[in-house]
Symmetry: C2
Subunit: 349 residues, 2 copies
């Protein structure tokens, strides 16, 4: 990119970048790939243009900092990159004023050269831990996730092949759990050993590292992914992002989404199936109802099964947290709920 | 506790519990222990009393659930405990309506029987990761924190001796870092190997697990704790909680606080010492100034050095994030800043 632009300068042309458009009108759900994908609209960014010159230069400033990182074989946070590239020019103007300004340029760069930010050696926040029947290599260290204690292995933000390699796994599936507390309950019960799986907790919305890791394990180990979330619109949204990606980061879907991911629960039908007492339910808020109705209109939830699931949520008027299963006993989730759901293939996808 | 109360019932007395008071007027900073401690005021809770009967019964409901956990050798979250104990009584009244109700009872129980909630097998949220020159055992698994990759070992919430044992450590100090991104930078640079230490990131305010782990390592390995936080009132508060505990959880200080903890940085004097450009500073907000002035009045910050530090923050009018050090180079923090600070014993305590 840099070489081409230098060439254009030398030939006294107006250097130009073609940057894919990241706005909503260039995002679609593809029924073939079953992912939220970016369309092929682009915008051009030229150097000799009053409104574009600054952004043009910012793009190369960020690209240059990423090149520096790549050459030094170092990684850093997008906040660090902001500080690395922020400085005052001779006329008193700053290269960047706030971090959102440099974040946008990073996203521009990602789509323009078709690379994840992690491939540019930039990391997002670390979140999520893992335990289970897999041995992997992380930055040269061999990590046996069967012998990693109660704490588990902290999932890094950058899990590309040059950092993480999968060595040996006999696991038959991956279980992604929204809630840390539930993951710990299952880890203490050694659920992963009895049911031969890998267990990940995402601490709410899945981080980029967790999404990418799940995608790589799903592809490379060729095993299914089950998602276990609260029975509420937010839980469904977490599942939805794992499965088809998000509208905001549509360009990441192609490397992060797992269209085959299975929704194991909590389903609105589980309340009756497992005879959960009314006292542990929580009334849907106005906002919950609005979100549920909105999600019913998403093209990726148009399937009859999903419509039925969401209708049930709305007609029941209540939601349910994963912890509500504890009203049936401390280990009800690991000894009854999950084995029965998995045994009966009782999931949506 | 239960046996005594049953005895009182059998003797047709009015059973009574003496519960230490957790409110502000029973909290003091002790200049001897250098911790925020609970005083010796108590309140009594009796069974035959219209306003106390419910709380009295709730106390035993929670105590009974904890006994169940202890007997089953299982641990769970305080949210789980809420669901375990929430049920509807015959007259349509619930044992608990909201979780804050059961949380208060848990705290009552902790102070009454002088046990951490972790000793009652209740966990808070998991947060924080660790890497460095230590081998430990976690739930029977041997964890070598020198070979734990880029992700690190996830610090569990319960780190009591029956879960975590320290096996071998040659580390000369513990470095607690507020920011995950900075911890990763230092881990990538293998700072802990060069400077023979243990590195922990707390992801903002330290979790209970992190505080207790640091305290245990400080005591049992007999090594100092350095704290590295942003140069702002929030960073100082994080340090303060590690050092002398918090007002809200004063009764935990005695097992979690590390009065010897050293404040390594960022100091308001570092800006000049390390020649950091003005462009990376951030103006103090009104709230920052208010908080800084408030902290200057805390008895544990009355030392001259601390007064000087906070005055400098206020007069400079700016704060500084740890990431701001990256303006001097990606690895400035690991190759220049930290070695110089540690070498020169340039810390406050």
């Amino acid at each position: 990119m840099a070489e081409r632009v230098i060439g254009e300068f030398q030939e006294e042309q107006n250097p130009e970048l073609e940057i894919p458009v990241r706005s909503l009108n260039n995002v679609n759900f593809s029924k073939i790939s079953r992912m939220i994908e970016m369309g092929d609209k682009t915008q051009s960014r030229t150097y000799f243009h009053q409104n574009m010159a600054k952004k043009f230069m910012q793009t190369f400033l960020v690209a240059s900092a990423c090149t520096e990182l790549l050459n030094a074989e170092k990684t850093t946070s997008i906040r660090d990159l902001f500080y690395m590239t922020k400085h005052t020019l001779s006329k008193g103007e700053n290269t960047f004023d706030d971090q959102p300004e440099s974040d946008i340029i990073i996203e521009d760069l990602e789509v323009t050269i078709n690379a994840l930010r992690e491939e540019l050696h930039l990391f997002a926040s670390n979140r999520g831990t893992m335990v289970g029947n897999i041995t992997l290599r992380d930055s040269g260290d061999k990590i046996n996730c069967r012998r990693i204690g109660s704490g588990g292995w902290g999932i890094p933000s950058i899990v590309e092949e040059h950092v993480i390699q999968f060595l040996k796994s006999e696991a038959e599936f991956i279980l992604l759990i929204e809630k840390d507390a539930v993951w710990r309950r299952l880890n203490e019960d050694k659920f992963w050993r009895k049911h031969n799986c890998i267990m990940i907790q995402s601490g709410g919305q899945t981080s980029r590292g967790v999404r990418r890791l799940i995608r790589r394990m799903h592809d490379e180990l060729d095993i299914p992914v089950y998602v276990l979330v609260d029975n509420d619109p937010w839980g469904l949204y977490i599942y939805s992002v794992v499965k088809q990606g998000s509208i905001n980061l549509a360009y990441d879907s192609v490397r992060m989404a797992v269209p085959d991911a299975r929704f194991l629960g909590l389903s609105s039908f589980d309340r009756e199936k497992f005879d959960l007492p009314d006292v542990v339910t929580i009334a849907l808020s106005k906002n919950d109802k609005r979100r549920a109705r909105q999600m019913m209109r998403y093209p990726w939830f148009e399937d009859k099964q999903w419509q039925k699931e969401m209708k049930k949520l709305l007609t029941s008027g209540v939601k349910l947290e994963l912890e509500a299963l504890s009203s049936k006993g401390i280990s009800f989730i690991s000894e009854n709920y999950l084995p029965q759901k998995i045994q009966n293939n009782d999931y949506l996808s």
